[in-house]
Symmetry: C2
Subunit: 153 residues, 2 copies
């Protein structure tokens, strides 16, 4: 995989800040003319450096103002179990992020809910319906201090 030069990184920074920048404005911002700028953007997309573009939506406005971190361990750890459980987690719309981990717990998930009532409902109606959970541990988020949607170029 090829290296990213300083110009590529400036393009990425600009598009991370505003994913809707037109090629014209982007070129101006990074100090290039439109043609090479457009070629670079297309190359970055095709190489998978840019995975896509998305609108950032406000959780609160969508009725799910609270965030809970839930760590989960399974009863068994055969391949089949891990795959099925992971897929089931990813399928739940309340689950915003889900990771398979090293260490004490098998999974860490970040869930959007509406208060403790929404949290309880999620546990009972969704998470605890999944088979194979040995133990889970929940932590409410009091405040979000930072939430970047990509690593900084």
């Amino acid at each position: 995989m090829e290296e990213l030069d300083q110009t590529d990184r400036r393009i990425l920074r600009a598009l991370r800040r505003d994913g809707r920048l037109s090629n014209t404005k982007l070129a101006e911002e990074v100090g290039l003319s439109t043609t090479p700028c457009w070629n670079r953007v297309r190359a970055l997309e095709e190489r998978g450096v840019i995975e896509g573009y998305t609108a950032l939506l406000n959780q609160q406005a969508l009725g799910l103002p609270d965030t809970v971190i839930i760590e989960v361990t399974l009863e068994r750890h055969d391949d089949d179990m891990l795959v099925r459980f992971g897929e089931a987690l990813a399928g739940l719309p309340e689950v915003m992020e889900a990771y398979l981990l090293t260490g004490e717990y098998d999974y860490l998930i970040k869930v959007a809910v509406a208060g403790t009532a929404g949290y309880e409902e999620f546990l009972r109606r969704k998470l605890y319906k999944l088979p194979g959970i040995r133990h889970s541990r929940s932590t409410f988020v009091l405040r979000c201090l930072k939430r970047a949607h990509s690593v900084e170029p």
Copy 2:
């Protein structure tokens, strides 16, 4: 704050999937003509439902393929300490997310690093330079199962 009707939600879903959709294509997709579609999008932006647009960048391509979850507790918990520590965390470029928590640990942060070497360097050069840490606990992410950048409309 006003409610979101089904059309608003369809607009949000489309823009979450592709943040660069033109108003024309968006209108077509949600079954509206361009004018009311554009009015709705602008209203959603002004109400803060849409917080912005961003390009999604590949961590691996940027040289930070690994993710570590670090939980931190502080020695003291006065207001000043909490605020300063939170700001310091948010300022570190490796830190992708940072939350103030209830429960056993005060903070949870998600950090992008390059392998164990990058992780050690982050700890020694960045995190452990911050004053006031009593204890921390790190967990490597083996695999990302889901990573939504906004809650589902």
